[in-house]
Structure formats: C-alpha cells, structure tokens
Amino acid sequence: MTAVGTYTPKPGAAPLTRMIAVQAALETKMLLRNGEQLLLTVVIPTLLLVLFSSVDVVDTGEGEAVDFLAPGILALAVMSTAFTGQAIATGFERRYGVLKRLAASPLPRWGLMAAKTLSVLVTEILQVILVTVIAFALGWSPGGNPLAVLLLLLLGTAAFSGLGLLMAGTLKAEATLAAANLVFLLLLVGGGVVVPLDKFPDTAQSLLGLLPISALSDGLRDVLQHGAGMPWGDLGILAVWGVVGLTAAARFFRWE
C-alpha cells in the first residue's frame, strides 16, 4: 500500500533549460539506439568514405580522392541527421502520439523543437569527429577557414531541418519514411557528394547546383579542398532553403 499523502498535489514545471536539456538527451539516446538511424547516420557515410577513397570507382578529379570525398561525406552526414533521420523519427513520434503527449507536459512546443535541434547538433558533432578521424587516417589534408566550415554546417543543418520537419509534420509516417529515404538516395547521387557535379550535363549541373546538398558539399569542398574564403554563393543558397523550409514547417506542421 502507499502512504497517505503520497499523491498530494505539488505541481510545477522544471526550469526551462533543464527541460530542454533532458529532452535533447532523450532524443539523442533514442536516435543512437535505433539501428536504422545508425545505418543512415554512421554506417553509410563511413562506408562510402572508406570505399571511394581506397577503390578508384569514381573519377574525383586531380589530387587525393579523400580530399574530394571528405567534404562531400561531411555534407552527407549533415543531411542524414538533420533531414532524413529527423524526418523519419519525428514522423513516427507524431504518428505514435509522442508529440501529442509531450504537448501536454510542462515542456513548451518551442522547447521541444529546441531540444530536437540540440539533439541534431550533438549527433552531427559526433559524426564530424568520426568522419574527420577516418579521413585523416586515409590521408586527408584539409585547408581553409574553420569559421566558414562551421557556418556552412550550421546553415546546412537549418536548411535540412526545415525540409525534414516539413515532411514529418505534413505526411503520413510511412510516406515520410519512404520519401526521406528516396530523397537521401537521390541527393547522395545527384548532389555532388561522391560524384562530382561536372560529370552531369551542363543544364542539369546548374539546376543540381541549387540543391541544398550541392551547396553544402560544394561550399565545404571550396573551403576544405581549395582553401577558399567565405563561399558566399553556397551560403546564400543554404540560407534561402533554410528560411523557406523552416517557415513552411512552422506554418504547416501538424502535431497529430
């Protein structure tokens, strides 16, 4: 039996920063526990990096293959977490009433979104460390401005998060699962990740160059491989995608 007074009301929300921190920790834990998510965010980028660096499958132009590949794989890592992973996870959380249940908790909705963003960033940091370590082991010699790299990664995250949340908040969970994987695959091939964009016809190139994945991989490559300063063009493309995607997500996202 339970002592009298056990349930005597004593309501109250935890401090906001603590709520967001524990929510972000749980979201990250759920992601790292999920096998399919790990395949997407860890296994595939790592495999591609190792495989295409050591086997001469694609002509990556002059210089070491890894110098071309590592920036592309970093872009892929951002896409896999901020877009594909987040879209699928959030889609199923919506489907299974997790978003609905949390909406009745003391954590405000914007707090939940902040926690999701934090969780995406934590995962990306882990991915960047992993990709960097492997790339160095393969003989990578990056150059360029670290601040430009950081800015590219952040704007890329914003762009992919907006699109991922838009998909998760409007489509059925199964449709999100299928579409997010399909888009991942298409952008992997057509977004300058492992296949240089100049392998495509001219007209296709200019269109493909406007994709967020191309802007991110191209920008990262300019800085890390060619030592460019601020890749303003690519940053601009990512910023536009970010604003459009996040605005649309905020407008059309359905919690149930």
């Binding site: 349930y7 005597t8 009301p9 749980l26 999920n34 997790v98 609905k100 009745a104 003391p106």
Partner: protein, 307 residues
C-alpha cells in the same frame, strides 16, 4: 468534497468538417472523481481533449482550474496530468526511462521507483515500449499522468482492454489519488467503472450531457427499483398498498410471486417485512433489484452502451 469547480464547460461546440462531435455541452466538475460516461462517438474524448488544450472550441467556453486551456496553456500544463487513450511514448524507450524523463520535466515529481513498483511496471525491465503488452502500456500511460504530482488528472478510458486484476489496480490508484486530494476526470464506457469510482457521473450522448449526478442519484432518479418476494398466493394487495408510501406499486405477478415497485430503500424493505409479519406471511426469496447506470442510460437514450 465539493468546492470551486475544477472543470467548467459552457455551451461547448466542436465540429470536425461536417460532423458535430460536441453540440452545446455543459459540464461542471468539482473536486473528487468525475466520470464522463457514454458510448463511443458520444463526444467524450473531444470534450476531454478540449479541456486538455488540444482542441480549440468552435464556440462556448472551457475553464480548467480557472484557466483557459488554450490561451493559458503554459500555466495550466504543469498542474494537470494527461493519460491519452493510446500511444504517447517513444517506441524505442523503456517504461522506466520514459517515466523518469517525464518526472524530470516537473519540479516536484513522485518517487519514480515507488510508482513503478506500485503499478507493477518493474517487470518490464529493458523491454522497449513497442514490445510491452497492452496492459503494461496502459499502466505506463497512467503513471505518466500522475508522476508530476498534478492537481487534476484526465484519464481517457483508463481501463479499456485491461484484465480484471490490472483494472482493480488502476481503480485502487485512482481512489488513492482522490484520497490525497487529486481531482480526476475520467471517460469510460464501462458502467461499473463509473459506479465504483465516481463521486459524480455525467452521461453524454450525441455531444451533450443528458444527465449528471452521483451514481445513487442517477439510479434513483432515472428508473423505479423493484423488490420481489414470494409467499402464499392471494395476499391482500390493497392492504399492502395502504402500508406502503403513496407512490409505490404492488402486484401479484403469478400466484405467490409479488412485486413492489418504487423507491426501494431500507425503510421500504422494513415496511414490507413488517406488513408480512402482521399478516403471518413468511416472505421467501426476497430480492431487491437496484437499477444500474446501464438501465438509466438505456432508458434515457434508448441505446445500449456498447464497447
């Protein structure tokens, strides 16, 4: 136990496209346990979800603990506990993990280990939510609703699909909540649940409250109760009627089988047995048939409460 209402709903209307789910519903719930009873599709969940702040009324007003659930959500949410009809948990989370998480979102949560023990969730171990049994998922949802030490909990069909033992455990917890001063609004289509638990029952049909009161009041008010006894055939019904209160009926249905209708209370039973004693009758097989909420519901709506 009655004081300021914890929930006040006035002329609530909620439509989904062309379908009117709630149609001018009025409901006042005080402290204690209030059961919202009705068949599926009566508007129970819509009403409760409007109180929880999930839905905006098309018209009418809703106040919960004196607050507007949509506009004053931030102030209200820490004070209420919500048990959804299904789901609400990450499919890859373990029961204790989710419960600890919800506890951390509150300032003064319950002791999570004690709650796990209390609801028999300790056996779930490392099993993730999607592999828990339906009953375990239900009990976890209940635990999530109470762990933040709310003033008011909303339980949407808390025992649907539970086995009798788990059902009783849930009822015990709900009674303990009430004893400690937590108010409870529960929806159910189980009559016995409402009769067993509720201080107050609101019967909902087609989006409106058609009757409200304590289970006793509703059973008394809705239908006449019946007392049956058997004795030797041909007793003087006229004499019996004189002894009974004015609004009672009495009849010999078949030789030796008698029925008394009216407000059957201990006083009436005493009146009938003393009349029998005066007339040298040994009443055999005395039985009292109390009308249940089920009868009341059937009488009011002409419908059975189906599950």
């Amino acid at each position: 136990m009655r004081s300021d209402p914890v929930v006040q709903v006035q002329a609530l209307v909620k439509r989904y496209r062309t379908k009117t789910a709630v149609d001018g519903l009025d409901l006042v719930a005080g402290t204690g346990i209030t059961a919202v009873l009705g068949p599926n599709g009566a508007g129970k969940t819509t009403t409760v979800e409007t109180c929880e702040g999930y839905r905006k009324p098309d018209s009418g007003t809703v106040r919960v603990l004196g607050l507007d659930p949509v506009r004053e959500a931030a102030a209200l949410r820490p004070r209420i506990g919500v048990m959804l009809q299904s789901g609400g948990v990450y499919s890859g989370a373990r029961a204790d993990e989710m419960l600890r998480h919800m506890a951390k979102l509150h300032a003064h949560p319950l002791d999570v280990d004690a709650l796990i023990e209390r609801l028999g969730l300790g056996s779930c171990g490392r099993t993730t939510y999607r592999r828990l049994s339906g009953g375990q998922q239900q009990r976890l949802a209940l635990a999530l609703a109470v762990v933040g030490r709310p003033e008011l909990v909303f339980l949407d069909e808390p025992t649907a699909g539970l086995d009798p033992q788990a059902r009783r455990a849930t009822w015990d917890l709900v009674r303990d909540l009430r004893a400690d001063g937590v108010s409870v609004i529960l929806t159910t289509h189980y009559m016995d649940e409402a009769e067993q638990l509720a201080d107050d029952v609101a019967i909902i049909d087609a989006g409106r409250v058609i009757a409200q009161g304590s289970p006793e009041e509703l059973c008394r008010g809705g239908a006449e109760n019946t007392l049956r006894f058997s004795g030797r055939p041909g007793l003087d019904i006229g004499s019996l009627l004189k002894a009974l209160p004015a609004d009672c009926t009495a009849a010999e249905l078949t030789p030796g089988a008698y029925r008394v209708g009216g407000k059957v209370d201990p006083q009436l039973l005493a009146t009938v047995t003393s009349w029998c004693a005066q007339h040298g009758v040994m009443p055999e097989k005395i039985s009292v048939e109390r009308h249940t909420l089920e009868d009341v519901f059937l009488e009011m709506t002409g419908k059975e409460l189906r599950s």
